[in-house]
Structure formats: C-alpha cells, structure tokens
C-alpha cells in the first residue's frame, strides 16, 4: 500500500510541478535558514572538554578591597586573578593537578634560511599539569619534568606547525631556538599535534574562537625571572603606580587564570574549604577588604556560560530563523491546500470506488511527507551554502554541518510537513464525493 501511495504521490507532484516546487522551496528555505543558524549556534555551544568538563575548575577570588560591595562580573568575582593569589594557590599544599595560565607575546627566530623572525605564534606560561588536564596530545617528547615547575629551566613545548616553522622538521625534541627577545635560548621538551579547542576554554582572556591554536608553552616557574608582560586583559579596582613588571607582580591587578582538577564531590568540597581558609588568612594580612570576601570554583560548562561564549547575536539569529521557518510552514499549508483542492475530483472517484476516508487521508499524508523529504534535502543544500556564508562573514572555521544535524534536519522537515499536511489532507478526505462525481 505504502509503495502505491508513494507512486501516486510522485505522479501528483509531477502533475502540479510549479505548485509542488513552491511547496518544496518554502520548506527548504525554512529548513535551510534555521539549520544554518542552529549549526552555528551548536558549534559555539560546543563543550570541548568532554568528560573532563565537570572535573576541571576555574578558580575565582573576590580579592578586592576598599570596602567595595562588588567588582568584576555580575556575581561579584573578577574573571582573572592577581599574581599574588596565583602564586599562593600554586604553592598551596594540595595534591590536585592544577595550572596557572597567561598569554604572552613572543618573537621567535626561525632557523630556516631567509625566514624573518615572527610574532605570529602566541605563547603561554603554564605548569606541567596543564598538558594532562587539557589533554594535549604529544607527537614527540612530552612535558618538561616535574622539577622544572620548581627549579625553572628554559624548556618549552611547541606545536608541530611551529616546530616545522623553526626547524623545518616535526621532531625537534632536544633542539634549542631563540624566543622572547630573539636571543634567549629555549630547549624543546615536546612537540604536540595541534591544540586549538573551540572555544578555547582553557584561556578565554584573548578571544573565544582563535583561528590559530597556542604555539608555545613555557614553564610558569620562569615568569618572575623572564618578566614577560601578558597579552590579555589587565584590570584593577584601585589606581596603582606600575612602572615595571615587578610592580605588576606585587599589584592587585588581575590578569591570570588558574585551573584545578577536582575529580569528585569530596575533592570539590575540600577545595572550597581550602579557599575559605585562604580568604580568611589573606584577610588577616589586610587584603580582601570588601563586604563579601570569598572564593569560588566553576567547572568548564559553567565557565563557558559565565563568559558568554555564545553571543547575543547568535541567540537572536536562531530565534529569528525559527520564526522564519514558522512563516514558511504556514505558507506551505496554504500551498498544500491549493494543491489538494485541485485533486478533489480524483479523491471523489477513489472514495466512490470504495476507498475509506482513512485511506485517502494517509495517501495525502504520504504525498506531504514526500514533499517534506525533498524540502529537507534541498534545505540541507541551502544550509551548507548558508554555513559557508557564515564562515566567510565571521572569519571562522567552526560553523559546519554535522551528521546529527543532517538527520535532525530531515526529521524536522518531515515532521513539520506532516503537521502542516494534516489540515489540507483532512479537507480532502472529508469532501463529499458526489459533488465531484457530478462534475466529471
């Protein structure tokens, strides 16, 4: 029966090509527009931490004074930390993996012939734990040894692309190159494939969706001796005279992030307790002199939402495209009505020959479903064009159609068309056969 209905539906579609094409296009445009915006939204809403999302935690401290009520974000925490606090957190007697992060600008000198020094590759200071916490995949070598986190050595971990740029080869473990001022020498401890999670949740201070991933990671233990200024945001709650890097280290300016890995509830509770004690202790030293001194930890999911990685624009566009889909569907209902009314005669004949109302109804629903299916296919084509446009417009690589969305779009258009098809199909099957028979 189903195949017979399909055959009939196909014949009907061919009999009213213009109207059928209009219906297919209406559904396709609605699906195409909404799928474009939903795909882009989904790419932005992606949580690259996967199953580590509820384990990794960003640490925040309400470390401002002046008896202020609130400062920073809406919950009264600044997004970043002072160097003093990071230093203390780092040296705290806790066994959880953890790492501070801040980004620095560096000039790197290539050892290939005729290549000028470049500052295209960004660097970050991190601790050794960073690589396991954020799942950096090594091609050669590995992180620097544990002792380097305590006794600084000029060792770095670099990306495959950077290794090729400097040395002309992927495996550069053990080799040295010049970085920062272009004179200081650093030894390569490890080379990683590529590390550019989207969004770059590990460090959101210098952009959410960087086109290029991190190029070089250097031991955080070098920070005080290298005196390298950060590239990201620096903010403060009081005017402070800062004349050099040493002043920044001692200041109340916030400019670093700190991550810690807490695998279970007990660990989280323990860390929160530790932060409480830390805030108390700092208060006694005269810091944290605000109305509600406290610390907080946020897991990756919370952190991404907190930083508003998905912009308002994207939410608005998703809403608008869904409204557009609604208009397209209302449109399709009208066009389907028009199409089916032309087929009233045939329905009358079939009814007179003994077809039940249910049979006529399901036959027309099959036809609607077929239109919806074609609409969905064309819609996907339009969505891939739309996503290409989005990538060009925003200068990003992330907006792509994935398989689940592909299936989702087809199901959505099928469902939508069946819903819209109910009214016209009911109209057809409820029509009185005698009128049309007379008209033959």
């Amino acid at each position: 029966m189903f195949t017979y209905y399909c055959k009939l539906a196909w014949r009907h579609i061919l009999q009213t090509p213009a109207l059928s094409l209009l219906i297919i296009m209406a559904i396709a445009l609605g699906i195409g527009a909404s799928m474009t915006m939903i795909s882009y939204y989904k790419a932005m809403a992606h949580n690259p931490a996967g199953d580590r999302s509820d384990k990794l935690h960003a640490v925040q401290l309400a470390a401002y004074g002046n008896d202020m009520e609130t400062w920073g974000m809406s919950d009264g925490f600044p997004r970043q930390l002072t160097h003093q606090d990071v230093k203390n957190l780092r040296e705290a007697d806790l066994s959880f993996p953890s790492t501070p992060i801040y980004q620095f600008m560096t000039v790197i000198v290539s050892q290939r012939e005729g290549v000028a020094p470049s500052n295209d590759y960004a660097g970050r200071f991190v601790d050794r734990d960073f690589f396991s916490m954020f799942d950096v995949k090594f091609l050669h070598g590995g992180p620097w040894s544990e002792s380097v986190d305590e006794q600084p050595e000029n060792q770095v971990v670099i990306s495959k692309a950077l290794s090729e740029w400097i040395f002309g080869e992927v495996n550069s473990v053990g080799k040295t190159f010049a970085m920062l001022d272009g004179i200081m020498q650093f030894t390569v401890a490890g080379v990683y494939e590529e590390f550019n999670p989207q969004p770059a949740y590990y460090d959101l201070t210098t952009g959410y969706f960087p086109r290029e991933g991190a190029g070089v990671f250097a031991p955080y233990s070098l920070v005080e001796q290298l005196e390298t200024f950060p590239m990201g945001n620096i903010s403060g709650w009081q005017p402070e005279e800062v004349n050099g890097f040493k002043d920044i280290l001692k200041s109340e300016y916030v400019w670093q992030v700190f991550w810690t890995q807490l695998d279970n509830e007990a660990a989280k509770a323990q860390y929160k307790e530790f932060l409480k004690g830390y805030v108390e202790q700092q208060r006694e030293l005269g810091r944290f002199a605000n109305q509600n001194p406290r610390g907080d930890i946020k897991d990756v999911e919370t952190w991404l939402n907190y930083n508003e990685v998905i912009s308002e624009d994207n939410r608005v566009m998703v809403g608008m495209s869904l409204l557009f889909l609604l208009v397209c569907l209302v449109n399709a209902v009208g066009l389907l009505l028009a199409k089916f009314m032309r087929k009233m005669n045939e329905a009358g004949v079939r009814r007179a020959l003994g077809a039940s109302k249910g049979q006529i109804f399901s036959q027309y629903l099959v036809e609607v479903g077929m239109l919806g299916f074609f609409g969905g296919l064309v819609g996907l084509l339009l969505a891939s064009i739309g996503l290409w446009a989005v990538r060009e417009l925003y200068g990003t690589d992330i907006a792509r159609l994935d398989f689940s969305l592909f299936i989702g779009a087809l199901l959505l258009s099928l469902l939508a068309s069946l819903l819209t098809g109910i009214l016209p199909a009911l109209r057809v099957c409820n029509s009185n056969p005698s009128i049309f028979l007379k008209a033959q």
Partner: protein, 400 residues
C-alpha cells in the same frame, strides 16, 4: 466597490484568507524587528571615527633582541618615512581607534573618588604629539598637546603625565555648563589638567555605547602602533613598502597588522556586518516566501470560485470588476493582518527587549515593513486575479 459581498464570501470559506492573514501578520512582526536591528548595526558601523579614514595606515611595532635606543630610532623612522612621497605625518601611539590595546580608566572629580564622583570610564590614548595631525582630528577649543606636555616614560601607568585633552562629548558630560579648559580631573587617581577639546575620536575596539568617550595624553612613544597619514592615491604603495622600510632601518623589530583605517574598521565591525548580511538575507527570503504564498493562496481561491466568477460574469460583471474584487479582498485581508501584525511586532520587541537588551522598536520601522508588505501582497494578488478576470462566463452554464 462594495465590500459587503466580498466580506460574506470570504467568511463562507475563511481558510485561505486566514492563512494569508497569519502569514502577513507574522511576517510584519518579524520583518519590522529585523529592519530595526539592521538599522542599529548600520548606524553603529557608519559612526564618525574622527579620523581621516581614507588617508591613514596603522601598523604595530614590536622590538626584540639587542637593546636599541628606541627614541633615537623613532626619530629616524619619522624622518625616513616622511621622505617617502605622499607621506604627510607619522606618529606612535599605544592604540588606535577601532584597533587593539584598549586602556580604560575611571575619570573622577576627586582623587579618592567613589562611584558618584567617577561617572564615566573613558579610553585614553598615550601618543606622541603628532597623533592629532596624523589622524586629522579637529580642535574645538584650547590647544593641541605639544612638547611642553610630553613626558618620557616606560611606565605602564601614566606616572608623569600632567595634561590631557578630552573629546567634545566627554567634556560636555563633565562640564555641561562651562568650558572644560583649565579644569582638573583625576584619571586613574592622577590629577590631569584639560588643555584642549577635540571634536571626535572613537575608542579602540568596537563598543556599541559610549564609544566617543576618549582622552588624549602625550608622551614620547617609540613603539606600539605606528600611524601614518598618506595622500589617498599613494596609500597602497606606502602600505606595501612599509614592512621592508621599517625592518630595513632596524631589524631588531617585527612589523605586523599593517592596515588602512578602512581595513581596521572592517575588522572591528566584522560581527556587525555579518549580522546585517544575515538579517537582510532572512528578511529578503521572508518577503519572497510571503509573496509566493499569497500568490499561491489567491490562485487557490480563484480556482475554488471559478463557477462563482463565471456566474458573475454571465450576470454582467466586467473583467475589471472581477479584478477589483480580488484586489480589494486582498487589501481588506492584508490591512486587517497588518493591524494584528503591528501588535505582534511590539510583543516580539518586548520579548527581545527583556531577553537581549535590544532597544525599543520605533514606529517608523513597523510602518516601513507594513507598507512594503501591503505592496508585496497586492502585487502578488495581481497575477492570479488577472487570471480570474479571464474566466469565461460560459463556465457558469457548463456545470451544476
């Protein structure tokens, strides 16, 4: 034209009319809000930067390696660049309007200011004294910063600065009744005297609000942003040669992000432009779909009323009467739908207001959207209505 019979025959079979009405009302609600959002972005993008955009190139200069006398090098840079044909002015600054590296600080009436005495947080530029000339700023009152204001500093905070200039908007905000000249304000806790007011200069970045709250201070800058003003017809040539020229003078530095002001603006407003393009595409498709839908539904009605039309024709109605009949029916439906749609437009705007902090919808956008929809709807009716007018009177006698 008698609306009575039209109204009655529409009521007898309201499905088609209802569908047209729903579609038009929805379209009006969506399109007017989209028009509004587009206009907001376009206004933001076409803001006056205060700079002679078409004549300015900017680049970033980073030193590395052996210690260099940067001040002496900056003098050499300036001299060499000014010798290039077309180059009119050269300046170093910490940041550029619509560019990166934004320094912001609260501007207060008192040193230990609480929130009341620090009403705004402007961005401040730390540039050499040629900056205004290079960008082509306009003086409103007082004087430009000169060598007497210049400080030498490597400091991160403005430790030695004593004087500043304000944008006109900012000066008016702090001193609405009187001239700002000679007055003192505290920027990041430092007392600075206002020596001049310039007409306009945007902040770095692409903020939507308070973008013209800016301050100029003078120091002997030697790195950061290099800004060059060039005759418009030489700008591409100078831009191409800039990196080689600068590195040729001193190879212990990297020159990056060499861009004209127009390119910088395009980068800064990228998201806004994307939003405009996407919104306009959806609006265009929306109107197209609505037009096709109306045309489809009217032809459906025409097909439905073939006999009725034939009867009317047989009873003496002219082709024009039939045409007018369908056009006025559509007019009535569309007009009603537009009234409902305006209400829906405001409801949608209310929702957007609460959820996304968008601005309140202005009446003119609803009006423009309604007018274009009325036109589109009437136009879409024309073709099927013409077809209807060609129905032969004979059809009335043929059946039933």
């Amino acid at each position: 034209m008698a609306f009575g019979p039209i109204f009655r025959s529409t009521l007898r079979n309201p499905t088609g009319a209802l569908l047209i009405a729903i579609q038009i009302a929805l379209t009006l609600a969506i399109a007017s809000n989209m028009f509004y959002m587009v206009n907001e972005r376009v206004e933001k993008m076409s803001r006056d930067t205060g700079v002679v955009n078409e004549e300015v190139i900017a680049a970033r200069v980073f030193y590395f390696g052996k210690a260099v006398d940067k001040a002496a090098q900056a003098d050499i840079d300036r001299k060499t660049l000014l010798e290039i044909p077309g180059v009119k002015s050269v300046s170093y600054s910490n940041s550029m309007p619509l560019g990166g590296n934004n320094n912001t600080s609260s501007l207060c009436f008192e040193q230990e200011g609480d929130e009341d005495s620090c009403p705004h947080s402007p961005s401040y530029y730390r540039s050499d004294v040629n900056f205004h000339e290079t960008l082509g700023l306009d003086l409103v009152e007082g004087r430009w910063l000169n060598d007497s204001d210049n400080v030498t500093t490597d400091a991160i905070s403005i430790a030695e600065t004593r004087t500043m200039m304000l944008s006109e908007v900012l000066a008016k905000l702090y001193f609405p009744e009187e001239s700002a000249l000679g007055k003192q304000l505290y920027l990041g806790g430092r007392e600075l005297t206002i020596v001049g007011v310039y007409r306009q200069l945007l902040r770095p970045g692409a903020r939507a609000t308070e973008a013209d709250h800016t301050i100029l201070t003078a120091e002997r800058r030697t790195s950061g942003y290099l800004a060059i003003r060039v005759d418009q017809d030489r700008i591409e040539q100078v831009k191409e040669k800039l990196e080689a020229t600068m590195v040729g003078l001193n190879d212990q530095r990297v020159i990056t992000e060499i861009e004209t002001m127009d390119e910088m603006a395009a980068d800064a407003y990228r998201r806004d432009k994307a939003m405009v393009v996407l919104l306009l595409s959806v609006v265009a498709l929306l109107l197209l779909v609505t037009a096709l839908g109306v045309a489809g539904l009217v032809s459906f009605t025409v097909a439905n009323r073939k006999k009725q039309i034939g009867t009317r024709r047989a009873l003496g109605a002219s082709k024009r009467d039939i045409l007018a009949y369908f056009i006025s029916e559509n007019f009535a439906i569309t007009a009603l739908a537009l009234i409902v749609g305006s209400g829906m437009a405001y409801a949608l705007n209310q929702y957007l207001l609460q959820t996304y902090e968008l601005a309140r919808l202005e009446l003119v956008y609803v009006f423009v959207a309604a007018a274009s929809l009325l036109f589109i709807s009437q136009f879409a009716t024309l073709l099927p209505a013409l077809k209807a007018s060609k129905v032969s009177p004979a059809i009335a006698t043929r059946t039933v």
